[in-house]
């Protein structure tokens, strides 16, 4: 049990699904996500000795970095604004009475809307809602201050709600 290989297996491998989910949502492609995660796991294995504290944010930070380096090489256009730390959420005026739109959310529409979010908003949303991570953990993964996590998350949700509303309005018009 004290062998490092077995410790890696016990400490890091249980987060493989989380690693893949994050990579899949950042790269938006199954094949790329597999390559990136494989490389990230090897990196994690090599740097296992540097792990301090919780394994999950540590691993996801490595996965995220692997995604970024991969995209720099293969899809630089998708990275525009990824590390723009000045992005701040300006609360908007209220959003109208279509709250029921969210209740009727369609699975496919939702997935498409998340996929279409700019990368830096998509990743915090995935970490928060799918991995159930705290702001502090997300800050560690994305390497930004907690305040930035909060504003990006707010922005992500607002963009998502807007795009869901736009889609369902369009669908409503077509139905008439």
């Amino acid at each position: 049990m004290s062998e490092p290989g077995q410790r890696f297996e016990r400490v890091v491998l249980p987060h493989l699904d989380a690693a893949y989910n994050l990579a899949r949502w950042i790269t938006r492609n199954d094949h790329d996500a597999q390559d990136v995660v494989q490389e990230a796991m090897l990196r994690a294995y090599r740097f296992f000795g540097s792990l301090r504290g919780e394994a999950k944010p540590w691993l996801l930070a490595i996965v995220r970095n692997s995604c970024l380096s991969w995209m720099q090489v293969n899809r630089p256009a998708d990275l525009a604004g990824f590390d723009d730390r000045a992005v701040d959420a300006v609360p908007t005026e209220e959003e109208g009475p279509e709250a029921q739109v969210l209740r009727a959310i369609d699975r496919r529409m939702l997935n498409e809307a998340i996929t279409a979010l700019p990368a830096q908003f998509r990743e915090v949303l995935v970490l928060r809602e799918m991995e159930d991570m705290s702001y502090k953990e997300i800050a560690r993964v994305a390497d930004v201050p907690i305040g930035t996590v909060m504003s990006r998350l707010a922005r992500a949700r607002r963009l998502l709600a807007e795009s869901m509303r736009a889609v369902s309005n369009a669908a409503g018009r077509m139905g008439k």
Partner: protein, 249 residues
């Protein structure tokens, strides 16, 4: 609190990330402002929709296989230095004797719990890794309980807690601490929770964290319960409380 500030803090409030003072202020604001309340509900609705409906991409089996092939199971590490020969044997003996004494007098109980916790954690991770979370897959307590009772010399209490957000996914058998134990597999969001149950004396409750997993123990009605999961400590505590209530009935 201004409406602008309330709107800015709403997300952190919904995420349970607001400090207690701001939470009170915001709740006072919400109580008086139906619009802010509606915005809050919309946020909760969106969050719930993502959790319930957005795709969660679990790692495909092919990836796990590729990893198994590329990550060496046990890496080479420099061997630890052997004790220098010149070290006086007597002092080594003294150290060992002192440690043994301390262990024997002070640490026996915690040591036992520690070992058991490590064993349970290993059992949980092994089952998760192997994708073998249960031998009997069912969300029906009336299927899981008889299946377990038929294979064990005791009948573990099995509770349906889906109304509380803990979904029963099945049960399995395991061998821990030299005895056969029942394992109830629950799920909350993406988190798998193993509840190990066996007849045992009442011991004080316990919770600890290890390698990112939380472990919680309690005893009720002659049964010992150990919960192991990567779920956060609060929610794991909630499950322990619910199980204890059901077991005490």
């Amino acid at each position: 609190m201004t409406p602008g500030e309330a709107l800015r803090l709403l997300g952190a409030y919904v995420d349970g990330e607001l400090d207690p003072l701001k939470t009170l202020e915001l709740e006072a604001h919400l109580a008086e402002n139906p619009e802010a309340r509606a915005a809050c509900e919309r946020l909760r609705g969106l969050s719930a929709a993502i959790r319930a409906k957005a795709d969660y991409h679990a790692a495909p089996a092919s990836l796990a296989a590729r990893l198994a092939a590329s990550v060496p199971p046990v890496p080479e590490r420099p061997r630890r230095l052997a004790l220098p020969r010149w070290l006086p044997l007597a002092s080594a003996f003294a150290c060992v004797a002192a440690l043994a004494f301390v262990a024997a007098t002070l640490l026996v109980r915690p040591g036992e719990d520690d070992r058991l916790a490590a064993e349970l954690l290993d059992a949980h991770v092994r089952a998760t890794l192997a994708g073998r979370a249960f031998d009997v897959a069912s969300s029906d307590q009336h299927t899981v309980k008889p299946w377990l009772s038929a294979r064990l010399p005791f009948s573990p209490p099995v509770a349906d807690l889906s109304a509380h957000g803990f979904e029963l996914t099945g049960g399995r058998l395991d061998y821990v601490g030299g005895r056969r134990v029942a394992v109830l597999a629950y799920k909350r969001r993406q988190h798998l929770i193993d509840v190990f149950v066996w007849p045992g004396e009442a011991r004080p409750g316990l919770n600890l964290s290890r390698d990112g997993f939380n472990i919680e123990r309690f005893a009720s009605n002659g049964m010992s319960f150990w919960l192991v999961s990567d779920l956060n400590r609060n929610e794991l505590g909630d499950l322990a409380k619910l199980l204890a209530e059901r077991a005490a009935l």
